[in-house]
Symmetry: C2
Subunit: 455 residues, 2 copies
């Protein structure tokens, strides 16, 4: 039964059923009661208003006669459906058409989300959680999840995490914003970023009042030796799979990065992007394990499970851990409890490992289909960064214009994405980003064929 | 089966089992592998490393002999438990003791959280959601929940909501932060707040770079006639149940508030605090219904269901709706999808109405117990605002010092909360805030008795 906000004035003079009709009529007209909405039963509404049921029956009959309500024999009375299109429908009709084959990067295949296993974890979380977990909680997140993730990251990613220094966030970008807020409060001003880099991360740094400083990337990732000239307080890096070039930072640059951070007293923010998807070699451990006192480790479930979960995490050096947790408290009072508990269960039971083992060969086949199609239909492009992750960057040969290729793709309803928006400093070297996470092998081949047939 | 980050060097000279032992030993020592953590099966680890199973068996046996691992016959091998207390335990031991009877306000009784009904909604959401709901989503939130809440608010709270102008947030305080961010971007500088007000809300306004301006509250809530002198861009009000005085804003002040906002072109931010819990009279509709073009309506599930859900919502006037949704996108990429879908199902099926109908008499009995105990043991206090909500403010008679009463309460392990921290301008009138949401009637009576016996 639903409750309805209606007030009747017993001293009004007008009969109660007439007052009720007037109120309900106005509610339908103003769309406070929406077309199709279920009305309370006459018995329930009478009880709520403290009037006899006859008053409500009479009002409902009158409004049905006027076309406001649609009673059904023996069933629920509803507000009559109307023919007018809602504002929502009008808005949606104006959105641009989505490309038929969309190589948009950074998207995992959410149709493979392990719904049954996730429901089992949710059920256990709901059955077993102490009641206090549903109350307000510290900004760092629930201990169950912090402990589960610390053990997982140490085991799988070679991190050196401790539950006490973890902070749970709503995905990676909030985590980065929290770290930037804490850095800004401690007096930091400049943060080095890879050039090219993820646009969203650069925007997050800027929103926090910090200045991003681009440092060039080559085929081995961030050119660490150039950091010395930047006089920055921190650096954001994607060592596992540089976004968007896909480079993997080699051991000597990792060592150089840590050495630079120690000398300068600077912070390394390690975005462990795509680390879970590695196809041709053994995975490389996180930099965090080398220098947990100088590195913020940042990860999320957005690529491994689903972006819709909005689950991210940070491992923060001791001197910053409290400030980052407080920033999370101030931002939104902490992440939702039940989802944290379910994810803790999911990790502890090995369901995340299992899901990743199932997904890796699926994505590897898509990667292989993409490389084969690029070789066949766009042989003048140079693909890089295909050893890991969910996207490949294909460099354009000199003289081929990125923007005109993107226009051509759009005409053929193929969504590809250029390198230019990710650059901080302008460059002549053009490239196309192919995300293959959400596409079947057939669609990948077809999309590249459509591009190649006129390029 | 779990995965483990271990790398073996086949050209190293040292036997593979010895290399593996060394790696695992280091991992246990450095706590990368935590006490009690499950090890992969020998078969699985051998497959992962590409070595014969005998290598792993030999390494495990050696480490078990050294006390690093604890094998169980026919079961899982685990890292041996250790006797050292973790940093976590040390930290927790240092927290101050919690009062035995805690009248902390703003807490609903989470032990009554409807776990079975929530699980049903989660299950339906997981079974029925289109896969795309698990991907990235617009900052305004999922349409299912925006539509369910708009219909609910219009029906129950007399709001004039439209799904297109709703934004889902992580609880009320994030919602307020988003509105403040949009206001600040549009050039706003000053926001009027009730004095006294919720400290957290004042802090949120300040964090957004806006100046809070206190406007006094009397027994009828915000003194609306004083707004004219403030030259503010917006006002934050709690008309349903002023926090902390519990006043309900009467009709003539509501009308005056709307008139002021229209003349000044200012925004009313309506925190519909405690509107769902009303014990003695019919509920009063939201101000939003009077002027949806000038009012941001803000609500949350923190008091009606549980703070741990971190579910809040805004209805935003058309001219601000896009800016607020974009602020949410920038803050954290949107709220978790599954929780939104579950809550939509919960609202549409009338489960929220049902839960509130079940809780109202429980809270009313606690309220009655509190008023009776105050009358019996602290008769010189003047309780106000008890018609609604989950707390009562008891004014102190002149000459009684708030701070010394709080100290006395702490000595008796009773948690009560003073009015002073909620004030923007200093005042001699002291008061005690008694939250009764989480306490049994017996505990309420006992807590007040303990206070009264020495006051």
């Amino acid at each position: 039964m639903a409750e309805l906000l209606v007030s009747l004035r017993r001293d009004d003079g007008a009969p109660l059923h007439a007052q009720l009709e007037q109120e309900l009529r106005a509610a339908v007209r103003s769309r406070r009661l929406k077309p199709g909405a279920a009305m309370p039963s006459t018995r329930a509404l009478a009880a709520q208003l403290g009037v006899s049921r006859g008053v409500v029956v009479e009002a409902y009959e009158q409004l049905a006669a006027e076309g406001y309500l649609a009673p059904r024999a023996g069933g629920v009375t509803r507000v009559a459906p109307q023919a007018v299109a809602s504002a929502a429908q009008a808005t949606r009709a104006m959105e641009p058409p989505r490309p038929r084959i969309d190589f948009r990067p950074g998207r995992p295949d959410v149709s493979e989300f392990p719904r049954a296993a996730w429901l089992r974890s949710l059920r256990r979380a709901l059955n077993e959680a102490p009641a206090e977990r549903f109350s307000y909680w510290d900004g760092s997140g629930l201990p169950e999840l912090r402990e589960a993730l610390a053990a997982y990251l140490n085991r799988v990613r070679g991190a050196c995490a401790d539950a006490e220094r973890m902070v749970i966030s709503n995905g990676f970008s909030q985590g980065l914003a929290l770290v930037c807020a804490a850095l800004r409060s401690s007096g930091a001003r400049r943060v080095a970023v890879e050039d090219p880099a993820h646009q969203g991360s650069v925007a997050t740094i800027r929103s926090a009042g910090l200045s991003p400083v681009g440092v060039p990337v080559d085929d081995d990732g961030l050119r660490v030796e150039l950091l010395r000239e930047t006089r920055v307080d921190a650096v954001l890096v994607t060592p596992a799979h540089q976004y968007p070039t896909g480079a993997v930072l080699p051991p000597h640059r990792r060592a150089g990065l840590v050495e630079w951070a120690r000398r300068r007293g600077a912070l390394i923010i390690e975005d462990d992007y795509d680390a879970e998807y590695r196809y041709d070699r053994e995975p490389i451990g996180a930099i965090h394990g080398l220098a947990p006192d100088r590195v913020v480790y940042a990860g999320s479930a957005s690529k491994t499970l689903a972006p819709g979960l909005r689950l991210g995490w940070l491992v923060v050096p001791g001197h910053l851990a409290r400030a980052v947790a407080d920033a999370k408290s101030a931002a939104d009072g902490g992440s939702p409890a039940l989802e944290q508990l379910a994810f803790a269960d999911f990790v502890v039971r090995g369901e995340l490992d299992r899901h990743l083992r199932r997904m890796r060969p699926i994505y590897r086949r898509r990667r292989d289909a993409l490389l084969a199609a690029l070789g066949a239909y766009l042989p003048h492009l140079r693909p890089t960064g295909s050893a890991a992750g969910l996207h490949v960057l294909a460099w354009l040969p000199p003289g081929i214009d990125e923007a005109s290729l993107l226009r051509l793709a759009a005409e053929r309803s193929v969504g590809i994405y250029g390198l230019a928006p990710h650059r901080l400093a302008p460059s002549d070297a053009g490239g196309l980003i192919f995300g293959y996470g959400t596409l079947s092998e057939g669609a990948i081949t077809e999309g590249v064929r459509l591009l190649g047939s006129g390029a």
